[in-house]
């Protein structure tokens, strides 16, 4: 139920000049930015990302209308000139665009793939001191264009990071996205994807590994407007200590989006008595000739698998690590080269299991 009156702004909100998302808002019920944002410094900073682009890519600054989301409006208030990165038609390169330096403040980036272009974007989201980051990204994928997006995230335990991406995909467009997150004090990666054209292909996978009091929220909202879309989504979570993992996924299949083939999975492994998992895998379907499914599991490692491995002589801790690693690896099976991710994952597991 909605509160009858809007409560007074918090100190952070006064600095920002408006209300932050809070748990009374259905979409933010498990990621309460209002309650968690304690920082007062750096809330109005403007972030200058480091961007390296291969030859042939054009980088400019333009005035773009703000996103209609709460966080999008904040980003637009502080950042009037959006960074615009665009490709020519049928562009191809074996070099990715690299974006880093997203460590503090507000930022807006728009990436446009022209018809038939193929582009990789590698993003690193890191902070080594307590920071506040509000990143608003947009990707326009034109007809027949293909985007490969790789996201790595590891923040300071007191950092608050909200990273939102709006992705528009036209006919025959494709996106493959892989994200590995080690969390932040409070963080949310929100992907709002609209498949506007026919035959859109979406692979959007991720894993989060969280310890201490970290929190990550992987939220995605995928709108399918036209026929024949294929969506695969798989998110794996490993949480320990007092960490909290949140997954919210939604497929919205519009009336015209016949022959949609969509699958969503979220599986979380809980390793401590004090960690928490929240999940909401949603389907909203208005077309009848579709095959849509979602699955969700939450729990500890499978004891019988553990016993089976130990019966073959593998020590318990090693068996646990092997099973956990295999569990997480499923999110990155479709990645062209997942060695860097897998190394980071095994290092993380080694230190904690």
């Amino acid at each position: 139920m909605q509160p009858n009156s809007t409560p007074a702004l918090t100190e952070a909100e006064t600095i920002l000049g408006g209300a932050l998302p809070h748990r009374r808002m259905e979409a933010w019920k498990w990621t309460d930015v209002r309650a968690s944002l304690r920082q007062k410094q750096g809330l109005t900073n403007i972030c200058t990302p480091e961007i390296s682009v291969p030859e042939g890519i054009i980088v400019s600054r333009e005035t773009i209308p703000a996103e209609s989301t709460v966080m999008g409006a904040f980003a637009a208030r502080f950042v009037t000139d959006c960074i615009v990165i665009s490709t020519p038609e049928n562009y191809k390169s074996d070099q990715p665009i690299r974006i880093s330096g997203l460590g503090n403040g507000h930022a807006r980036i728009l990436i446009k793939l022209a018809k038939g272009a193929e582009l990789s974007v590698v993003e690193t989201h890191e902070s080594d001191t307590a920071s506040f980051i509000n990143l608003d990204m947009q990707f326009d994928i034109s007809e027949g264009a293909k985007l490969t997006r790789t996201i790595f995230h590891a923040d300071h335990t007191d950092t608050t990071r909200i990273a939102s991406s709006r992705i528009n995909v036209q006919t025959d467009g494709e996106i493959t996205q892989h994200m590995l997150s080690f969390g932040a004090g409070l963080s949310r990666f929100e992907t709002r994807l609209t498949a506007q054209g026919k035959n859109v292909k979406v692979d959007i996978h991720g894993a989060y590994l969280l310890d201490e009091k970290r929190h990550v929220d992987m939220t995605s909202h995928i709108d399918l407007i036209d026929e024949n879309a294929q969506i695969r989504q798989s998110v794996k979570g490993v949480i320990t200590d007092k960490a909290r993992g949140v997954f919210q996924g939604k497929f919205h299949v519009h009336r015209r989006a016949q022959f949609t083939d969509a699958e969503m999975r979220h599986d979380a492994l809980m390793l401590s008595d004090t960690c928490e998992v929240r999940a909401k895998p949603e389907l909203e379907i208005y077309a009848d000739d579709v095959a849509c499914a979602h699955g969700n599991t939450v729990g500890a490692l499978d004891e019988s698998a553990l016993f089976y491995m130990r019966q073959r002589g593998i020590p318990a801790s090693q068996a646990r690590a092997l099973l956990t690693q295999a569990f997480v690896a499923q999110a990155f099976e479709s990645m062209a080269d997942n060695t860097e991710f897998m190394t980071r994952i095994s290092n993380w597991l080694e230190q904690r299991l």
């Binding site: 909605q2 929240r278 999940a279 949603e282 389907l283 077309a287 095959a291 699955g295 969700n296 729990g299």
Partner: protein, 500 residues
């Protein structure tokens, strides 16, 4: 057991096919209106109406105060808006909150005192009201004790004496308030508190009837208990309240059936059901909800806003909700289980069918608080016509709910491209030893299967009914036999006109 089930299933298939044929003519079989003299409270809602209802029921002061508190609270509350249902604003002043058949003024002492027209209504509904009729039936015929609620009052409760012999109390709630105040005071409102939600609070203020069941320790209730609800009077809301207590080691199976006449206005139904299950006890609660869904243009129909909740208080207690939801214009209903006792278990089996302009937002909540608690959710949703349907569910584990288990299977079927099927599960776990598993699928009826059936000579409608019944089998198997047959028929009737 297995053998009986097979036979029943075969019978059910035949019944389904027959049901479809028989219903060509009268679409909503329960839609006749009964011409019975009614007594109404004045239209609208205010403190005086609450007092009026309480006075009509001859209630003690504590009950009146309880109602008034709820009413005051309700005035400060807002109607929930999170469900995926869309309806014009309800004018709560435009409804009657109390309607009783006139002859009930002093309460019927026996069946003979009941208005014969009323009995005829129940006969039409197929309720075995007269004990002798039931007893005269074939040997081994199911014996069901019935509490029939007609608009705001309970008309008659059968088999009371036989039940009393084993200590089972089964009577209208208003009677329980008088005769068993200690039980009512101890349990009423302890599962669904007066402040629970907008509709439950409204119910607390104005509820006029309902059933009360108490099963004493160690007693296995010798027959199924049943309540039939019917809204008859025009412009009336129905606000019944059911309270069932299964004391230690007892068992009861309870059936609830609902119908309402066809009307082109919307009728409001805001019921509350509270189940309390103590150590080693079990309650099986089955519902066939067939309120008037509105006409082909989406006019009229019942707004069904219901709060049903079970509290598994004792160790190893068990609750099973089974529902077949085919009626109502709007359904807002989440029968839930609070799994408090260690080793307690909750089940939710649901079939929801929406057609025409119906909208249903229904599901369950399984709240795991105790150790080694189990829950199981099987939900089958079928959307046809221009209807929309949402499964909404919560499964949560408290830190202390070690060893908790949940399995959820949610399947939706779309028939036609003008309807919608949605799934909104919430999963919250706070302990690693809880194991939660959720699977959901959405699909359409298989063309191949349809063709296969038609190649064997079934009409398209029969084939659809047959396949949909197959899709729902996991749930239908959990219904008591008599209900299973009725439910199968309803599946076919509800889908009529959805193909071709």
């Amino acid at each position: 057991m297995a053998e009986i089930k097979t036979i029943a299933k075969d019978a059910i298939v035949t019944e389904t096919v027959k049901g479809v044929e028989a219903l060509e003519a009268d679409k909503y079989k329960y839609g006749f209106e009964s011409d019975i003299e009614q007594e109404f409270a004045p239209k609208g809602l205010n403190e005086d109406i609450v007092r009026f209802i309480s006075a009509k029921k001859d209630e003690p002061d504590w009950m009146l105060e309880w109602r008034l508190d709820a009413y005051a609270r309700w005035l400060t509350m807002k109607e929930p808006t999170w469900a995926m249902v869309d309806y014009p604003e309800i004018d709560y002043q435009d409804s009657y909150y109390y309607a009783a058949p006139k002859s009930d003024k002093d309460g019927p002492k026996s069946l003979d005192e009941v208005d014969p027209d009323l009995l005829e209504v129940y006969a039409k509904l197929g309720i075995p009201l007269r004990e002798q009729e039931v007893l005269a039936g074939v040997q081994g015929a199911p014996r069901v004790a019935v509490d029939a609620v007609f608009d705001s009052v309970s008309v008659v409760t059968t088999f009371k004496e036989e039940l009393a012999k084993v200590g089972v109390i089964f009577c209208p709630l208003s009677e329980a308030v008088k005769n068993h105040p200690e039980l009512v005071r101890k349990y009423l409102g302890t599962v669904v508190p007066p402040t629970d939600n907008f509709f439950a609070t409204l119910n607390t203020a104005v509820f006029s009837e309902g059933s009360f069941v108490y099963i004493p320790p160690g007693v296995r209730c010798p027959m199924e208990l049943s309540t039939y609800f019917r809204m008859n009077a025009q412009g009336t809301g129905q606000f019944e309240r059911t309270l069932i207590i299964a004391d230690k080691g007892s068992y009861v199976s309870y059936l609830e059936g609902c119908t309402a006449p066809m009307r082109d206005e919307n009728q409001l139904h805001a019921a509350v059901v509270e189940l309390i299950v103590l150590e080693d006890a079990e309650i099986k609660y089955s519902t066939v909800q067939n309120w008037w869904p509105g006409d082909a243009e989406g006019k009229g129909g019942v707004y069904n806003f219901v709060t049903k909740r079970a509290d598994c208080r004792g160790k190893n207690s068990k609750v099973s909700w089974t529902q077949v939801e085919t009626g109502s214009a709007i359904t807002w209903k989440y029968p839930s289980c609070i799994l408090r006792g260690d080793g307690s278990s909750g089940e939710f089996y649901s079939i929801a069918i929406t057609n025409g302009f119906q909208q249903a937002d229904t599901g369950t909540k399984m709240i795991h608080l105790g150790k080694n608690t189990r829950s199981r959710i099987i939900s089958k949703g079928i959307s046809a016509g221009k209807s929309n349907q949402t499964y909404r569910g919560l499964v949560s584990a408290h830190k202390k709910a070690t060893g908790a288990r949940n399995f959820t299977q949610c399947d939706s079927l779309l028939i036609g491209d003008q309807c919608g099927a949605h799934t909104v599960p919430y999963i919250e776990s706070n302990t690693p030893s809880a194991q939660f598993e959720h699977e959901a699928t959405t699909s359409k009826l298989s063309e191949e299967q349809l063709f296969y059936c038609r190649q064997r000579g079934l009409s398209e409608e029969d084939a659809v009914a047959l396949l949909v019944n197959g899709f729902c089998r996991d749930v239908l198997q959990n219904l008591p036999m008599e209900f299973a047959v009725e439910a199968q028929k309803l599946v076919a009737i509800s889908l009529e006109g959805s193909v071709g």
